[in-house]
Symmetry: C2
Subunit: 146 residues, 2 copies
DNA sequence: ATTTGTGCAAATCGTTTGCATCTGA
DNA sequence: TCAGATGCAAACGATTTGCACAAAT
């Protein structure tokens, strides 16, 4: 191929785009149009808790054309690469949290809303050793009847 | 049919039966044939973690004739009456725990097995107050890569 | 050019529901 | 009697998959 005359696909904030793009690349994910768009929605603002359905609707609102299957794929890919963390509230609700650091959650049963609790806010002492294997992570969910 | 020569359905310990029966009555649940049979499977031995499907299969093995829908109904009824506690591990797995006391769990990701951790084994201090509403319960799941 | 992702619709899984039929109190 | 349970099959909602097509390296 002779030469590529500057891709310039985006007119969004170039800085933010680059960051997200780099984030995908660094994670070893090909920055496709839809993954980029979804990643921007997810990581643009502060930490978020999204469901697949919710992100799908949000994408539609922003005129990002993705299929629901692709949203699921992207969320799982991101989770696998530790850009997201999956949280299971009950059998019919799965959230993806953009905060992948050590922290816990309030879950408001009425509204179905999640809220982060910084790890420092809870003293988890004397964690018993698993009889076998290694601890992958510790989930703490404080269920609130609101 | 001329005569049924004695049904003799049970040769289990009559004492245990009574206990289970009383347990259902006390909870305000009509001790129907299938609820009794399921309750016996659940509460006969020590504490257990079962899935609906698992209990259903177990019932079949014991030649207890129940439909899967009834198993679900019974598990939910029991949970409502605090004879069981429901635990959500991931979006596709819901467990029912016969231990309704205060305690936490190991979850072995490979085998999909749950193991109780007595509440005393973990010091949960400084639990933050929910910004709104009242704490229904606190779930702690230690996920183990086994 | 090759590999990897995407869209769509159909398939799957666990769970729930509607309804006619039973059954325990 | 008769409210409450059950069984069955159909309905369901969330998630997944199969496959032909499109896009990234």
């Amino acid at each position: 191929m002779l030469h590529t005359p500057g891709i310039m696909r985006a007119k969004k904030a170039p800085t933010a785009d680059l960051t997200v793009l780099e984030r995908l690349r660094t994670a070893g994910l090909r920055p496709t149009r839809q993954r980029l768009a979804l990643a921007k929605l997810l990581f643009a603002q502060g930490h978020r808790h999204v469901t697949a359905e919710g992100l799908f609707n949000e994408a539609k609102e922003h005129r990002v054309d993705v299929s629901l299957a692709t949203v699921y794929n992207a969320l799982h890919d991101f989770t696998e690469k530790a850009l997201l963390r999956e949280i299971s509230i009950d059998s019919s609700r799965s959230y993806f949290d953009t905060n992948v650091g050590d922290h816990y959650h309030f879950y408001f049963e009425q509204s179905g809303r999640l809220q982060d609790i910084p790890a420092e806010r809870i003293a988890l002492a004397n964690l018993p050793e698993p009889p076998d294997g290694v601890v992958a992570r510790v989930d703490v969910i404080i269920r609130v009847k609101d």
